[in-house]
Subunit: 341 residues, 2 copies
Amino acid sequence: MATMKQVAERAGVSTSTVSHVINNTRAVSEDVRQRVLAVIDEMRYIPSAVARSLKNDKTHTIGVSVPDNTDPAIAELLRGIEDAAFAAGYTIMLCNGYDDPQRQAAHLRGLIERRIDGLVLVAGSARDELAPLLAGQRVPVVLADHDVAADLDLIGLDHEATGYAATRHLLELGHKRIACLAGPARHPATRERLAGCRRALDEAGLGLDPACVAHVAPDCQGGHEGARRLLALDRAPTALFACSDLMALGALRAAQEAGLRVPEDLSVVGACGLEMAAFSTPRLSTVTQPIYQMGHALTALLLQRIRGEQPPRRRERLRGQLVVRDSSARPPVRRLLAAAS
Amino acid sequence: MATMKQVAERAGVSTSTVSHVINNTRAVSEDVRQRVLAVIDEMRYIPSAVARSLKNDKTHTIGVSVPDNTDPAIAELLRGIEDAAFAAGYTIMLCNGYDDPQRQAAHLRGLIERRIDGLVLVAGSARDELAPLLAGQRVPVVLADHDVAADLDLIGLDHEATGYAATRHLLELGHKRIACLAGPARHPATRERLAGCRRALDEAGLGLDPACVAHVAPDCQGGHEGARRLLALDRAPTALFACSDLMALGALRAAQEAGLRVPEDLSVVGACGLEMAAFSTPRLSTVTQPIYQMGHALTALLLQRIRGEQPPRRRERLRGQLVVRDSSARPPVRRLLAAAS
DNA sequence: CTGTTAGCGCCTTCAA
DNA sequence: TTGAAGGCGCTAACAG
């Protein structure tokens, strides 16, 4: 791989001249510039960002640590991050933690070794392991959704509001017996959505029956299992709030298998706004989440910090929007009467 | 950020000694080693991979260029790549090309500047722009699925076999009028699946009616539109082979809206093996694809090349497997008769 | 307008 | 068992 020195020799100039034509960093006579450019082209010279980084103490690379890029929500976040980063000339280093603190810590260390300019962290459940690593270095860090430390920027989703909105919707349709299909209890997002659900129920004077909460894996499979369990309850719910669309899709299937029609016998509301949730049968009512924007905003903020600007500490949670489609409707009359009696 | 020099000073030794305790690269007396280690810990020293890279001409980083990480198949591939890379101590640099040659070329250049040790390339439709860049450098490159140059390793999917298997399945059920919901015609994968479909049809003496092929965007939306078009045909098909599960899901919805029951009135077979395709209503019959394995194998191969081993040029296409679920069945009798008349 | 030089942080002979 | 020194490829004073 050609080096600047070789280019300089071949063009009969000094390396600094080559450097300056490349970076437009000082006046160079036109004929020299042309000659240098020609040699660069001829030798297919591409400057080494690693040498540059060593000199400038900047890599123009940002680390992104996520639990699992296979989760559609994470994939969308990643896209928002990558778009913003690319527009600013930055490249992404991607790490999947799989909620494994060991692995996450190892990844983080690798990123720091590689001297990333900044980090977008979706901490998952493992906060404690990362704190010491982060503390020692002064790498700008922004948090996506999962909180880790109060003195870091955080842009997340307002899960409580999401849970509340979904549940209110069900309540307004007339449902009295509402169950919640929740993700793993250790995930804060799940807990918050559940809290929002509970608040709506409390306000309606109904309360959330602990038996009506199923904690399962946050995917179709999990949603399927959880819904099956909930639908087998003695006083089965007439409506389900699933904390994610994937789980909701699993629930739709469980309802189908139980011989229940959605929405006639059972209403289901999800949360996330996946594209395919608009194409399920029935089309899923859901609370969309501005995930792409979250990734984009997060990255824009991180880049500000990297540039040394000192925007005020940002801590906010974006709100989604209820989209009513075909999976939610008024409760069946019989059940309604039964519940009222 | 602490440097090795600072550590050396604080520990009262030379930098070379520090280097050697870090890398276990020559004998160091136990007390010195302990002292150095203590200082490292105290100063939270983390060695700089960029300096190391400059010296060793290795970054332990591999670039990954994909069309769009939001596509579930790509996300899965990415996961396979990341897993294999992480296990070997490598980190991923992710780039989304969005099928935009300009952007892809810019990304590739960025990766080369950063001196990635190797590249996993999902070329999308833009091959020509990348060739010159690749040619100049001698970065090991492995191709995922999309072919670009014959002298590069390629591990892909056997799309032809996939199309064939799906169509055979439909044929064996007794369908005579089979349509194909295809992705953009410029995607080789689409063309190959279509070719497999055509071969099966030809073998059965039926042939593929051009009117029965709809080229649409490879997502739910596209599948929905395409299916609507196909189902509105004069002699509507009794079965649909969708070149991806996402499109198949969209087709399920279109059928529903057209008042057709799946599989009683219409059979649908997808391809990919998404988790959620097992939870749709009805559950989708599909041809699964070993995408994770593809990513894993590709990366293992790339790492071999990076290490300088010279495994024989590899060119292969992995086969998926037909999974029959609930979206495919024998054609409706009336239509069968109509088609036969 | 152009060249010389000193390092960025690390590894690695070569000496001691 | 340890240290000194040169150099990886590049940038940025500092001279000329």
